[in-house]
């Protein structure tokens, strides 16, 4: 089998096309996270945070929620951008072009997922900068912070890609983020430490995969997580592999892409 060289022009074409789509709506794309983050700080940081017992956290409540806020937006942005990116050409029929182009499945995914992850990470960083205006933010492990951000973005964009292929219409694109990811994120310690929960909720929460992601990411900021950082990293790696496996199967069988 002579598969030949990496089609970098092809990957770039998809990546640039997707980024161009994001830039068309850049102002709303960036204003939304800035406004919502500010609202979170006003509501949670000042109103509720001042009444919370934060002795467990080791940092003020406002600082504590920054990694969780970044994750909440990262999950949603990743799933939304990646699922829309691949669903749109399926919907309009333009998918015929990448499918008939000399692109490997890996290259197609790299183009779509790479662009979705770029945008999602950019939004996360905007949230970080906005948060920095309201509260003090520390990043103890910048290398690991970037590593977690990239890994989690890649994982959720792959997941979004799967949703975009699975979905039969635009309503279905919204279902997974709304009914699964957002609730799991709120219940997964984005705004509190799971140690604050009474049993049995504390143990039940450990079955929520999002807990491990948020905990690991928070550790890169303040050196303290709900679970050990090794477990967080392993879980992140596991989700990444599961998503890669599903995508491999999609291209292998042509599921909803080729008849």
């Amino acid at each position: 089998m002579t598969v030949g060289r990496f089609n970098r022009h092809g990957v770039w074409a998809i990546y640039a096309f997707e980024m161009h789509r994001f830039f068309r709506t850049i102002w709303t794309g960036l204003a939304t996270p800035v406004i919502t983050t500010s609202l979170y700080f006003v509501v949670f940081g000042s109103a509720i945070g001042s009444r919370m017992n934060t002795s467990d956290l080791g940092v003020p409540y406002g600082s504590f929620i920054v990694p969780g806020l970044m994750m909440l937006s990262l999950f949603n942005e990743c799933i939304f951008n990646a699922s829309f990116g691949i669903h749109m050409p399926r919907f309009t029929g333009t998918i015929y072009e990448p499918l008939s182009a000399p692109l490997s499945p890996f290259e197609i995914v790299l183009g779509y997922v790479g662009a979705a992850a770029t945008k999602a990470m950019a939004v996360s960083l905007v949230i970080l900068l906005t948060a920095n205006l309201f509260v003090e933010v520390q990043i103890l492990h910048p290398f690991w912070m970037v590593a977690f951000l990239v890994l989690i973005a890649a994982t959720f964009c792959l997941f979004g890609f799967i949703v975009g292929i699975w979905a039969k219409g635009f309503e279905q694109l919204q279902i997974i983020p709304m009914l699964v990811v957002t609730p799991l994120t709120f219940l997964g310690g984005a705004f509190y430490s799971i140690h604050m929960l009474p049993e049995p909720f504390k143990t039940a929460t450990l079955f929520n995969p999002i807990v491990y992601l948020i905990s690991g990411f928070r550790w890169t900021f303040y050196g303290k997580g709900d679970v050990s950082v090794g477990i967080s990293l392993a879980m992140t790696g596991l989700f990444l592999l599961v998503c890669l496996g599903v995508i491999w199967w999609i291209f292998r069988t042509g599921y909803r892409l080729k008849s």
Binding site: R24, S100, A101, P102
Partner: protein
């Protein structure tokens, strides 16, 4: 010379169980214009989609420019351009970007001079900055063609290129097709109009219900089309056609029991009266006689009627 596309034993059964292609063998010669003619639902789009990598074949193999379309898909697909039957476009993209995008997808480095040439050939140059959604249907089809040509393919597939197209675009398109052929591009188009195949193609393949029922040079095909056959059931079987009947080029069939004369139905003098006179002079008797259209004509009649019924 090796064929530019070689299809062997190609079959496709869709998930629902429908058999859209059955054991198709076909060679396309380099530089020819080949028309795939058949009614709606015959399997034309399926055949094209398999060669282009959009549909997975159930059986058989295809090579394009010498490369297997599955094992060596990169090399194969780089050589192929496809204009699909439906207008699939990115509404918000300007013409120039969408055509450049296609070139990139196919692994070619940017070449603005080539894109400019393609857009000018398709009378799209003035519209290069327009968004696709602002264009008329005909213009959109031109954009689809420009996209397919952006990466300088050696093989171009046009799936029902004239469906719903105005006269002007049709003329421009045929002009472009001829120009492409002169530059060495092989063109495969599908249609359900005999006239269209006749106007454009060097060779014609007829497909019906997933089967490629015949492939012919256009001229040979058109000649056969006008032909009728007279069958004479002989009173006495004969071993060979008598020399005295040589000028009618008769065929002896059914173990010497039938004489078959093929004649041009449109000619002023079809030769039948003189043949019958000569036979009676020679004392050759016959019990029965019948004329019928050649089997090709039958095929076309059913083709056209099925085509218009769909």
């Amino acid at each position: 010379m090796d064929p530019v596309i070689s299809i062997r034993g190609l079959g496709k059964r869709y998930a629902g169980g429908h058999e859209a292609l059955k054991n198709v063998d076909l060679d396309i010669e380099r530089g020819e214009i080949f028309a795939l003619l058949g009614p709606n639902g015959a399997g034309k789009t399926t055949l094209i989609s398999i060669v282009c990598g959009i549909v997975t074949p159930s059986e058989g193999t295809v090579t394009a420019a010498g490369h297997d379309i599955v094992a060596d898909y990169r090399a194969a697909r780089t050589k192929i351009g496809l204009v699909p039957q439906e207008l699939h476009t990115d509404a918000f993209e300007p013409v120039w970007s969408t055509v450049s995008f296609s070139r990139g997808l196919f692994g070619k480095p940017p070449n603005p001079a080539h894109i400019e040439r393609v857009l000018k050939d398709l009378s799209l140059w003035d519209k290069r900055k327009s968004k696709i959604k602002e264009l008329s249907g005909g213009m959109k089809r031109r954009v689809m063609i420009a996209k397919a040509l952006a990466h300088e393919p050696e093989i171009l597939f046009l799936d029902e290129p004239t469906a719903g197209v105005d006269v002007e675009l049709r003329r421009d398109m045929w002009e472009l097709v001829r120009k492409l052929r002169e530059s060495g591009v092989t063109i495969i188009l599908t249609t359900h109009y005999i006239e269209e195949a006749e106007e454009m193609a060097d060779r014609i393949g007829v497909i019906r219900k997933g089967e490629l029922i015949l492939v012919e040079e256009k001229h040979a095909l058109m000649e056969k089309l006008g032909k009728k056959q007279l069958t004479l059931a002989l009173s006495e079987p004969m071993d060979a056609v008598p020399d005295a009947l040589a000028e009618w080029q008769l065929d002896l069939r059914s173990g010497g029991n039938e004489l078959v004369y093929t004649f041009d139905a449109n000619a002023e003098r079809n030769g039948i009266p003189s043949l019958l006179r000569r036979m009676s002079d020679l004392g050759i008797g016959f019990k029965d006689l019948a004329t019928h259209q050649s089997s090709l004509e039958d095929i076309f009649v059913s083709l056209v009627s099925e085509g218009s019924a769909a």
